[in-house]
Symmetry: C2
DNA sequence: GTAAACTCGTCAACGTGGTTGTCGAAACAG
DNA sequence: CTGTTTCGACAACCACGTTGACGAGTTTAC
């Protein structure tokens, strides 16, 4: 019953492995549902755009990255057909980014798949332990505005 | 009281936020202890190398990335002084990668900082909830050989 | 009303962490 | 001895992030 990892490393590794497991299964499943080119970053960005749309600068702020980085991600999303850019009639500088029906479908499918994956965790652990895990994490993570602050944390 | 996030998205977001919080604090603290250029990837790679050393191909397999990618990471680690390459006398093709004293120091500091961060979680949640969180995750993540499979999951 | 300040999107250059394909040299299996 | 495998390296490429600069449009201050 060894702490196979040096004690300190286990907690971050477990969190990462849990996240990875969910994300990998999400994308494997998304691929079979008409979204083979979706990537983790796309989901984050599209949630930052939201149903009401947003500008690239706004997306950058919500995601904690530069507006240039957000702009490039929007380029890729647009190339995949997940979003479209629309001129803002009230401000000639701004270009509103809006989710396309394809983008909304991707988001809806993701939510449905995540629900299914969470249900699998409940099967293995019981509902009480899963809600306990969630509430523990909610307590300990610094509450950020949008979903989560996702800077260039690995680059 | 709101499930501010669409229900399905919250669990992966919490896991990611928890991981991020630990990693960010680790590197902020590492920077003040003589390791300002350390990156998350470096820690993973150096753990894959291990105290006994390893070849680049081996590191790649343990990390779940190509030998070329592992080789490039080793290049960067070597440039920072964290590892060194040594010719293998028994096999002229192989070059053993070994942790330098600086590399070992970085790993030791990391373990110590992670212990401290975990202690902070225990302060907030109590020891029982933290061990419960860990055991829940251990149950639900597919046990991988090395620390964790870390492919090009975000790229 | 005009001048200054700010904001938006974009372009360019670059760093880092991945990928595939190719290759010569060395080791191994028959 | 010959064929297969493995090692490390090189090259080209992609995704995602960074700074810095810039023109154009909007806002604020005077």
């Amino acid at each position: 019953m060894p702490p196979a990892d040096p004690p300190g490393f286990e907690l971050p590794l477990l969190l990462f492995a849990g996240f990875r497991a969910l994300i990998d299964e999400l994308h494997a499943e998304l691929a079979t549902r008409g979204h083979p080119d979706a990537r983790p970053v796309h989901g984050f960005a599209m949630q930052a755009i939201g149903p009401a749309g947003a500008t690239a600068s706004e997306v950058g702020r919500r995601l904690g990255v530069s507006k240039q980085a957000a702009g490039k991600t929007v380029d890729r999303l647009a190339a995949l057909g997940y979003v479209e850019r629309v001129d803002d009639p009230h401000d000639a500088r701004r270009k509103l980014i809006r989710l396309t029906p394809l983008g909304l479908d991707m988001l809806a499918q993701s939510a449905e798949i995540f629900d299914r994956l969470r249900a699998r965790w409940v099967e293995k652990l019981g509902a009480e332990r899963v809600t306990s895990l969630e509430s523990s994490l909610r307590t300990v993570v610094p509450a950020t505005g949008f979903p989560v602050d996702v800077p260039g944390w690995f680059g």
